[in-house]
Symmetry: none
Subunit: 195 residues, 4 copies
DNA sequence: TTGTAAACGAGACGGTACGTCTCGTCTTAAT
DNA sequence: ATTAAGACGAGACGTACCGTCTCGTTTACAA
């Protein structure tokens, strides 16, 4: 028996991730420091650096953890894809309007933009599970003859990209009406009758 | 009218903006510093801070300047919107594959995500001119009966957002074929026959 | 023209040296830190490290500076070498009994023991001036026929070494009587009638 | 009876003392760490701190141990004190020229300067045995009428202090000739004919 | 022979200080 | 009068050790 190889403290891990989530919301992301995370978590810097090499890593892991604890949600299914995805996009719009979620997502996006390693990690731990729920709903719609045969990733992008793009660029207000229009157009784009 | 209200040195300004562009490409953006910009530009830090308060400001102004110097380009017009926008998206895909452009755009996106002031500035100086060229092409397509009556901003987002989203998230390879599929679906979504 | 290559702040230099002297007395030398010196001096660590590379360097410079400001003192000259050097050794014994001087000299000795560079510096700035005053007094005694022809350095060592040795080793109490005995023996050792 | 309160591992003790001696020679004393001693000895830090509270303690004990194993040596006795002590001082000069002994003695001196507890320990375990051998030789010389009645400690200091002082201060080279001159002068200082 | 209790190695932990870096301001010397 | 050069106070960076504290695992005495 190799016996317990690691004595990593769960208390420290949890404290760090909690502190990171709290600080990302409180402090402009550019001013968030490892020092502050360690301080807030009541953890030594050595411990912090032993397990994470940058604030980005901490934040990504914290968000992944948070994501994992929210039980995987299924997309609504009223029978009409356009209605259902309109609802999903409205929910996303609402989330983006929440300053907390806004701050978290901006932090995540910055790290994702600058570090390919974190990009991959976010893909695996956060994006892929969400894609799976979209894929399920698309499969149903496909069998109902509402859409053609389409790559679920591309389909998902068709729906969500415009909303996130507008959020990120701030080109125009993000409203429920906009969410509905995006959903309507995307469904039309995926219609059977087409190339 | 020169109107030059200040005695600001154009030499210094140009040197700073050039240095910033060069460094954004050479150095991981997180490690780009005001110190390095000043050094590379042969400008004192005092001068640098007199006119810009952060590396983000410098970078945004540098990119805006560069953008301004590229004469406003019109979108191609072969008569078929899908073909034309497919070509545009392919061109964007090619640019995104260029490490230089990639680095510049990641830097711009980071600042845009974190600083609303810079977000607005990018909107005015970079985004809006590009939107105008799209709007022109959409107007022609509208008169040709190829698309319905649609907000040009929303239409543009429908085309470009999926491409930029995939670039930013790295969800899957960015190919010409993908650009074509996005263009095809977006055109279909804008088809006359619709809500 | 020296062209003054440095814009070194005298305020910072003085503050650091003062802080160092104060702390050497307050804090056990092993626990004296650059951090504390910087803090006490109201100086940034960067400034501290720009000009000194270790606490030893700071302390040695501080003591050299202090030494320089005390005007070079001449040894007493009553005509009798034994009496005069007895008085000097008594004065040294008194100084060594002063906790402040004791702490300073222990710090100096530690650095001197461990760093040849600092050893040389102490030699030049602190030891050599003191040797000169001894040498002058020895020259007078030589001409008065009280001692033979002797290397002033060796003569000085003969007087002071036993006292400092006993101070450092703590072998027995340091008293005025002991100082007198050492002076008496040393004078006898230097007597004319000799090898 | 609880009796045997400790099952202290002799292997660990020996390994630590050996490691300490090795490291004192290899590493500048200021950079010698408990961590390194534990590592070199193949001993856990807990074990190290269980039995010693500082590197100084380890080093002093290691040197005391080493000293104990060298059988107590008597001073030479040719009948002439000056010759004999000249030989002893020459031997000391030779030892001080040995980098290993130099490093060990500097370490010892530093601890002795800074920690009164260790100072006393060194006095008991290292200094006092050496003093005893000097005292024996002085007693013989006293009976032979070569010197007067003198405190052996003061006599010993008279001989060795100048040599150690010169070693510590680096004021001038330590040579056999210097050793002889010191011995000659000290013997003269202890001569019967005097106060 | 088997408990059992202390010592052991390994190494994570909360800390302190290290020595370096960047920031944004301020001073200086030389135009 | 403006500028480069760069020193400055502030404080975060990531590392090294500190001394303490679990952890299992020997080890050796006592039952």
């Amino acid at each position: 028996m190799p016996a317990s190889p690691s004595r990593r403290s769960d208390r420290a891990r949890t404290a760090v991730l909690d502190a990171a989530l709290a600080l990302v919301v409180e402090v402009p992301y550019a001013r968030l420091t490892m020092e502050a995370i360690a301080g807030r978590a009541g953890v030594s810097k050595a411990t912090l650096y032993r397990w994470w090499t940058s604030k980005g890593e901490v934040v990504v892991e914290a968000l992944a953890e948070q994501n994992r604890q929210q039980s995987a949600y299924a997309l609504p299914d009223t029978g009409d894809l356009r209605t259902d995805l309109g609802a999903v996009l409205r929910a996303i719009v609402d989330e983006l309007a929440d300053p907390t979620y806004d701050a978290l997502l901006r932090a995540l996006s910055v790290e994702t933009l600058l570090d390919p390693r974190l990009r991959d990690q976010v893909l695996e731990t956060i994006f892929r599970p969400q894609l799976a729920t979209f894929a399920d709903r698309f499969a149903v719609a496909r069998e109902a003859g509402q859409i053609g045969d389409v790559d679920p990733l591309e389909a998902m992008e068709l729906f969500v990209a415009p909303v996130f793009h507008r959020w990120q660029q701030g080109t125009a207000p993000l409203t429920h009406a906009y969410a509905d229009r995006v959903a309507a157009r995307a469904v039309k784009a995926l219609d059977m009758r087409s190339s």
